[in-house]
Symmetry: C2
Subunit: 125 residues, 2 copies
Amino acid sequence: MTISEVSEKYGLPPDTLRYYEKVGLIPPVTRKESGVRDYSEQDCGWVEFIKCMRGAGLSIETLIRYVALYRKGNRTLKQRKQLLIDEREKLQERIEQMQQVLKRLNYKIDLYEDRIVSCEKKLLS
Amino acid sequence: MTISEVSEKYGLPPDTLRYYEKVGLIPPVTRKESGVRDYSEQDCGWVEFIKCMRGAGLSIETLIRYVALYRKGNRTLKQRKQLLIDEREKLQERIEQMQQVLKRLNYKIDLYEDRIVSCEKKLLS
DNA sequence: TCTTGACTTGGAGCCAACTCCAGGCATTAT
DNA sequence: ATAATGCCTGGAGTTGGCTCCAAGTCAAGA
């Protein structure tokens, strides 16, 4: 797959795909002899994984660490697992905080509804 | 309350508090005759609200719009409510996405556990 | 009165994460 | 053969959100 096809498929600009590879956010992509990128299934898998994790707010720095560990092979299994556990913890906290804010927004929206209704009553009376 | 007391209370640096006020993220803070900020209850309320909303990922731009509407008075009640509804929607989507990722992390962590266990078995055999 | 310390402002600097660009090579279409 | 298209690289520029700094003011203590 060419870079523009991958870009299309995952909704990430080609520049971003190149950037991700350059900084080590995804392992080096397969190339044709000419040097042009030719994404394999596995390459696409990494793109999808990174897109997904970035979407949940994991930092680029963290994901670079993860990919670097992956590239060192099987002896880093425990470290990779621990990294994911740490990130899961942070993610859980973020979700809980956001759920609190969601409640607060719901409450505030209800208050606005009340105020709008009573304002309109006043105008009609 | 002085800026450093408010800073202490909400865990936001004084520079950030000034920045928030400068860009209109919170309404202008009460001042002493000397020009020094003297946060009222209401001023603190705004700081707390903005800190909370920022923590959930609402953009500064959006919150500036909200505060600007607030400052225009009661005729903007409906717009403010709509703004909050829109942000609630986005927040809900972000939470759902993050919950998906949480599931995926759980799954991946379990896979790692399996791989680590079978790796250790191999070493012991 | 003079110094110290907390505050003020405007503006520059910084960091994460892209995003864009110039100059160049390679394949494809005419 | 040549032009157009799509890709390449290294590096500069941009955006959001702070964060820091210099130069100045003000109130309280020695």
